[in-house]
Subunit: 316 residues, 2 copies
Amino acid sequence: MIDAIPTRVTKILGIRYPILQAGMVWASGWRLAAACAEAGILGCIGAGSMKPDHLERQIAKARTATTGRLAVNIPLLRGDAPALLDVTLDAGIDVIISSAGNPALVTERVQRAGATWIHVVPTVKHGRKAEASGAHIVIGEGFEAGGHNGADEVTTFCLVPQLVDALSIPVIAAGGIADHRQFVAALALGAEGISVGTRFAATPESSAHENYKRAVVEAGDGATALFAKPIAPVRAIKNAWVARVRAAEARGAGRDELLDVYGRSAARRGILEGDVTEGELEAGQSSGLIQDVIPAAEVVRRFVEGYEAARGGMIP
Amino acid sequence: MIDAIPTRVTKILGIRYPILQAGMVWASGWRLAAACAEAGILGCIGAGSMKPDHLERQIAKARTATTGRLAVNIPLLRGDAPALLDVTLDAGIDVIISSAGNPALVTERVQRAGATWIHVVPTVKHGRKAEASGAHIVIGEGFEAGGHNGADEVTTFCLVPQLVDALSIPVIAAGGIADHRQFVAALALGAEGISVGTRFAATPESSAHENYKRAVVEAGDGATALFAKPIAPVRAIKNAWVARVRAAEARGAGRDELLDVYGRSAARRGILEGDVTEGELEAGQSSGLIQDVIPAAEVVRRFVEGYEAARGGMIP
């Protein structure tokens, strides 16, 4: 296995391979982040399902477990996003991945700390705004991604080259990526790295429930849906709970009625507690390409060896 | 410019480059098909907007204009699909591209004629059915494609590698492809060719109205939407007519009410007659990557030269 795949992203982040493990609610704690950092990519603690004091302990554990490169993902729609950011930067984490919100809210605090700043965007307009706000890298996340998603439904395949044309800073591709062929394809689209969620959620190091991991492995190509658009679009594996939310949506339910059907703690119930019929199993369309639960280091190895094979002639 | 990019698809179809010009209602008559065939790819007359006698005249004109390789695309949901198929095969066209319907309906007639048969599919399940029905090639068409689309919303980026894994026959990637980077990416995903629609609709040889072509050129990344899902999902450029149909859909309109808002001849009004506010401007997410109206041969040249450049080191 080659020991590096250099791009501007690996240089900025100090990692060997241009691969980021995405922050995911209830799945990406210190154990997964540390395993990924040890494998030569960027490990990431997903703060989306953590309170500040819990995040602080997770960061401390991760730093004990690895000397590799670590980031924290902070969804900016969280009311306590500033507190999560303070905890992260005060703990010495120097890579911030912000998502789901106005990037300008982060600029001053991140720049004061001298941290590297990556922002997740669903369209070119959002990409331009992130670059203007001082982000060092953007992650272009397509419609196929698991979890929360943009309203314009632009796919990875179409979003990435348009971001590359519009921006000067490096673009990382996200959404639907589980496979070495997609890694090579993303680089061909002009991305300088990939951000991978669901594939890492189905590893032993992920804190997701075994039932969730099994649901990802069993999922076929059409197993997920993007729904709850009047609240905030989210992609998850179809089950009884998703069917009820989609039925309400289809009959024209308003935001309040939809929130009522959606209920509370659905993601916790599905991902952490393993209720595969009544929980929210956030996952990308990449689920159809995931056939096994394997260690995070093995996920990285498959990406890198697949890349090597492609360079040796897989592309005609 | 290299004179061939060989794959199983180019061998089966007898073309130089593994590129298909997709059949499109009101945009792909004999002139576009002949120009594409002359450029070394598969030219295609889209029968979706033609009656059998009109199709017969279009085929005759195309055959006068080129000795290159020609196909006809027949949407199987058309009541007169058998008549369109008869006209096509009787005229000596030996490549049939079927879409939007049960492939088994085509098998006997195509096999009797000894024609090459390509079927368009939106999921792995449909791909397996096409292969079992005797198709020689499948086109995997993703969510980002213009015009009619599958219900499962699987994107090109996720659909193609899953089809490649599931089938023995060659897979062609379709949906959102306008750019040489996407051509290379599609090959990296395991496709042995690409099928390109909207990019060829914005050429002088396309029979679409100038206003339609201008709308494609002006479209940004989020300019299209997939809508009318209770009737049959279709992707078009957002305008006043699309907004009305989507509003009806969002308030839970039933099929009949939605058909009423949809109205009649919307695609003809938009694509052929150029009514950009009240017509249906069927187009893919690739619209955001199309910046100019250029001859079909120039579209082919950009794909092939971009492929050459990528082979020379564009992928790191």
